[in-house]
């Protein structure tokens, strides 16, 4: 399972990076979203998959999966959500004011 997950993570990273290298601001934000998913899955995979029950002590299982990465991922999900929404509104404002979402046209002034 870890092998396939790793390959899937590789695909997610490839597409995410490909998107953030594109010109369109929207695609760049979508690329960062995908990269976030890739990172979360990577964190989960690194702690080994399916080694026990969900980390709820009420289950009275012999073994549980590692709860620490889950806590980390939960924190990460919330933070990336905050950052992504901020970026998104920023992109929206830039698009609205500057009239483009082409990164190649979003350059500084010439005299800078």
């Amino acid at each position: 399972m870890e092998l396939y997950m790793s390959l899937a993570i590789g695909v997610i990273f490839t597409v995410g990076v490909y998107l953030i290298l594109s010109k369109s601001l929207l695609r760049i934000i979508l690329g960062t979203s995908l990269l976030t998913h890739g990172v979360h899955l990577l964190l989960l995979t690194m702690s080994r998959l399916k080694t026990g029950a969900a980390p709820l002590l009420g289950q009275k299982a012999d073994a549980y999966v590692d709860p620490l990465p889950q806590a980390l991922i939960l924190t990460s999900i919330v933070i990336s959500f905050g950052v992504t929404s901020f970026f998104f509104v920023l992109a929206y404002k830039a698009y609205q004011r500057l009239g483009t979402d082409d990164m190649e046209r979003l350059r500084g002034k010439d005299d800078e």
Partner: protein
Amino acid sequence: MSLLHIVILLPFILAVFVPVLHKWSKRLHTGWFVLPAPAALFVYLLGWLPNVQEGERMTASLPWIPSLGIDFTVYVDGLGLLFALLITGIGTLVVLYSIFYLDKGKEAIGHFYVYLLLFMGAMLGVTLSDNVIVLYGFWEITSISSFLLIAFWHHREKSRYGALKSMLITVLGGLAMLGGFALVYVMAGTFSIRELVGSAADIAEHDLFIPAMLLILLGAFTKSAQFPFHIWLPDAMEAPTPVSAYLHSATMVKAGLYLVARFSPVFAGEPAWFWLIAASGIATLLYGSYRALKQTDLKAMLAFSTVSQLGLIMSLLGLGSAAAVYTGTSESLFYAKATLAGIFHLMNHAVFKGALFMVVGIVDYETGTRDIRRLGGLMSVMPVTFSAALIGALSMAGLPPFNGFLSKEMFFTAVLNIRELDVWNMAFWGAFFPVIAWIASVFTFLYSMLLLFKTFAGKKQFEKLAKKPHEAPLGMLLPPVVLASLAVVFGLFPNLLSYSLIEPAMAAIHPAMLDAGAKFHVSISFWHGWTAEIYMTIGVVAAGILLYKLYPRLSLLNRPLFTRFSLNKTYDGGIGRLDGSAKWLTDRYMTGSVRHYLIYILFFLIVSVAMTMAGSGGMRVDLSDFAPMSLYEAVIIFALVASVIAVPFARSRMMAIILTGTAGYMVTLFFVIFRAPDLALTQMIVETVSVTLFLLCFYHLPKLKKELARLRFKLSNFLIALGVGAVMTAVALSASSGRSFESISGYFLENSYKLAGGKNVVNVILVDFRGFDTMLEIVVLGIASLGIYALIKLGPDAVGT
């Protein structure tokens, strides 16, 4: 803090009060307040002469950074006292001269004296410091104050150019010197010059000996305007004349000579030291004297003359270092005579060059020009100035009965002696020294005569001058006259100097040659019979007079030697090219395109991670321990990969957003099957909100043009993306294969209920075991929402730009 510290710090303290005095005194020239300081110091230092002559050494130490071995230690021996007397003595005369030279109403004299006092204090610090780091600090203050003084008339383009040039070159050398000091510290473990001299034998064996020597010499050569670093000195002539007289002839340019003399006991005896100093000195001597011939500006002529004379002293210090080879034998005294000549000429040069600069300043002040083509016949209108110039120029040319004659005779003796040195191929190369020295002396004679007679003799052409010339005020004449008299006094009674100053200075440069408590016995005689030196001098005079007569017809001397190659062009071109290539390089990679920067970052990530994994054996794949995959999971993986791959192919932005959302829901499903219920819940909510937000925003955006039709395929982007994907796959596989150590989660699982009273371990970790993470993550969300609010409500729209 002892009185010796006060000697160094007095000019700095006075410099603080100069602006106040300048404001406060409406009628009196600020220079009068400054004048007592160098005069008092000079008199005070004169009082030390008998003690130093008796071999007494004065030290005083003040802890500065004791933990690093850096103390403000003042050390007065013969060499330091000689320089300190020069600095304060000529400083007094220069201040007096400047009072009459600089107009109170027109010039910013408050600034002038602050800079000059800073310089004076720094120069005293350089020559009296025992700690090399303190020495370096003062050394850089001399560079900075010299920079400020050269650019005193900062509204002039050429002043700023000259100041920048001298700053760049001397600071380059200063920095190299600091490197040399650091290496010396590595070798000897001390910053104290006295202790360095004590451990000179150990240092000579060290691998860093040669690099340290080269770096320190670079500092000395740039400061003392040795070839090819002399180019800053002629451009520094844009400074007011008192500055040129003080800094660029008598004191600062001799700091390099001081450094060489001071470090002689550490480095002398090495062939590299001997050759570098002797050869660069003699080359500078010849080049400077040749270039001085061709100048039409009096100050430029004196500048090249200074370069040439500094070369002479430098070469003498180099030749004198040969004495260290024969330490303990009578031969060493034979070669040490070169050092003696060097020190003697160092003082002589300060005296007559100071006088000449002041004379040139007077001529400039009275006639409005320094161009020898427009000057002439000033002898009858300015008799006193002419007398001072005559003595100065004849002394520079090396004629009896002035002091320059004696030092030049001793110079000839030294270069003739060096042929008998039986090491380092001197049998062959040594023969060149007298020849070069003789030619350079002819040139020196020639430009001294040109300087003198083109200005003061010949036709009167006062109609070409801006002002009608007449004799200068007394206060302006006094300093050059004093210096010219000294040139005569030192010429007639050289042993005044030799007993009091030269002997202790020699003892400082050649400590190894003396037994404990012994002294050098130096006697300079005016006449020493019909020797080779006297014939050489006669030859110099004869050839010089001949050349002077032929001078107008000798096109060789008038034409630039190298029309295509010049050091100034090299410097200017070098600076320009450095500027241009830095701009070119920056323009190449700082394109302003975010895509390019991302490519650099990602490319570096791929290369560094891949190389580290390949190099350190971190790459390992161990499939044995992996969990099996069910059909259900295979379907989800397939759906995830398919939706992710489809994103770049989406034609509309709606489609791209929805496909990204799909990938997010697939991740949610993974969280479900991999036993992470809290994650699944959160992910689902977050994904829903995100997609809604995405859709809301972009649905309402005006369609500016048909964008996002289809992402155009770019191979370079794809290759980078593939590289990142491959690297991340490798990282994921390596991380999953085998564990280096047990997870700490056992603790959380065991104690979640016992210690925290919760059965949902993930939630207990979030709010109990690792509650700080959660608190700050709440802060992140708060900041993000505030930021969004500000963007929407308070952006530039709201301000109304």
